[in-house]
Symmetry: C2
Subunit: 360 residues, 2 copies
Amino acid sequence: MSASTTRPMRDRVAEFVTALQDEIVGAFERLDPESPPFKRDSWLRAKGGSGRSCVFATPEIDPATVGPNERPSVLEKAGVNVSVVHGTLPGPAIRQMRGDHQSMPLPEDLPGGLPFFAAGISLVIHPRNPHAPTTHANYRYFEICEHSTEGSEEPGKLLAWWFGGGSDLTPNYLYEEDAEHFHKTIKSHIEPHGSALYPALKKWCDEYFYIPHRGEARGIGGIFFDDLNSGKHLKIPLPEGRDGDNTLRPYSQEECFQFLQAAGKSFIPSYLPILERRYKAPSTPLQRRWQLVRRGRYVEFNLIYDRGTKFGLMTPEARVESILMSLPETVRWEYMTELGGEGTEEGKLMDAVKNVREWV
Amino acid sequence: MSASTTRPMRDRVAEFVTALQDEIVGAFERLDPESPPFKRDSWLRAKGGSGRSCVFATPEIDPATVGPNERPSVLEKAGVNVSVVHGTLPGPAIRQMRGDHQSMPLPEDLPGGLPFFAAGISLVIHPRNPHAPTTHANYRYFEICEHSTEGSEEPGKLLAWWFGGGSDLTPNYLYEEDAEHFHKTIKSHIEPHGSALYPALKKWCDEYFYIPHRGEARGIGGIFFDDLNSGKHLKIPLPEGRDGDNTLRPYSQEECFQFLQAAGKSFIPSYLPILERRYKAPSTPLQRRWQLVRRGRYVEFNLIYDRGTKFGLMTPEARVESILMSLPETVRWEYMTELGGEGTEEGKLMDAVKNVREWV
């Protein structure tokens, strides 16, 4: 066992997401050195923990008023958040959580709640160019413990832990090679951690990022997972008799963390090459308008269906600005828009979000 | 009893909302004769009933590219919808409704659901000028009946009925005289129908149009009510021993309908004079930006909290475009916007939405 694996998992995950944040923000800043850097914004949570938001926004630049020698920024709005928080989870919140986390071995009676720990990275990138896709990624680790012994600085006995996360792509125009690149890159990074992962998590992503009232997916998918721990997982079905086989999926805390790191590290190679080849593409006012209309769907999903957003906003003392950082800067809603019809470039995207495809 | 009062209430309400729609759309069209008229869009509901959407939208006009001799339209996006629908309400939907409609004398056991009828008008007006406020109004009538006798064209026996509605104002800049005019006009129209109405419905409006995660009201209020029928109403408290006194509130179906008509008819005089005095006001890019940021709050309320929107979107075969017609055309989300600070004109509006006031 190496020195690193003897350290508490909570510290190792916190370190990983913090380093990944620096790496990701650095990659975007190097791509667009003439634009202002991300704004770093560290915050403390009154009830325990801290975080750092790195946000890109240039509200003063309106593409309609950019002068002939000015260059609009590559990104329009982007946020890469890290939070490492702890505190007490009230009994009702734990009970509500148990529905989703069936393997959580928690006591029935929870007067006063239980200590929790959560560390995660969450990011959303909205480029300016209509041909460059929006992307989102989120990787997190959660613990629930017994109360610590009085006077001790150490957390109490670990009762439950799990990992969650994923990454997905939301283009305005369908470039099949982009969708293939995105999916292939993620798949190749996570495959060494279990051959059942990509198919199960790709399917879960398609199910999760779905807008029922529109009958369309938010984008062209990626991977999504939650509640990953050493227990049996209903969303990761395995062939008969193969439960416990760690060539199919990670089981131990260490294996799950290795997988999480691989998934997190796939973000830059899965997305940056796509952004690089699209951000300079010439675009028309109609293409910009279509981008803004599509962003409306993004907002509809995030505000109506996204569990993270809903759960976040309902949390007392939530940092609303960090939660809603995911929303695009400029958005449009048109009544019965005539854009997106069959036979148009916009229509090709509509077909891809209405009919889920395999990209690898 | 006049001839009109012998006609079924469902027909009378349908006639009223249809005439009100024409009147309101006509008033906006006369105010801005150079802009294209509202687009009339009649639709049939496969499972029973019909409606007409009247929508104003000019997606091609971008204020940034309007030529020196062109005049931007007064409205940016507006919709005035009427729907008159009927069908069968499934058992679970009725049970869910009973929570809100306590005086509904419905059978416990509802195999196959019950016939319903609903007629209403719903409108949202988003003017282009940042100094002109957004407004919303909605007036509706609902019936639940027994199944009709086989072979009969007539609806079955009426089991429950109620009226609902309201109207509210959402300015981007606080003009106290506008807020006062809006509230005073509505109050003077509805007061003859019961002196307890305005205070109770004003309070209910402030409670309903509230965005908890922002700690702010959507706007400066108006009136809001639901479940109004001949039963006792928890949201319209009356002085001890005065229950049944129709000088305080309407009770009979006829009285409630008279009140609904008065409230509906207050819309044009409550709003149009405000629009007329604001729509030509000069405005700066910062004021436009602030308007778009405030519209973000409007979207947050409608998509996260508004019961009508949520209930609508969850309804199978809902007409999504009519439900989301309420969303503004162009919207912005800024991370930790620096707009709205104390001592600014934007800050004055923030104070009004964070601290509920009496306007009459």
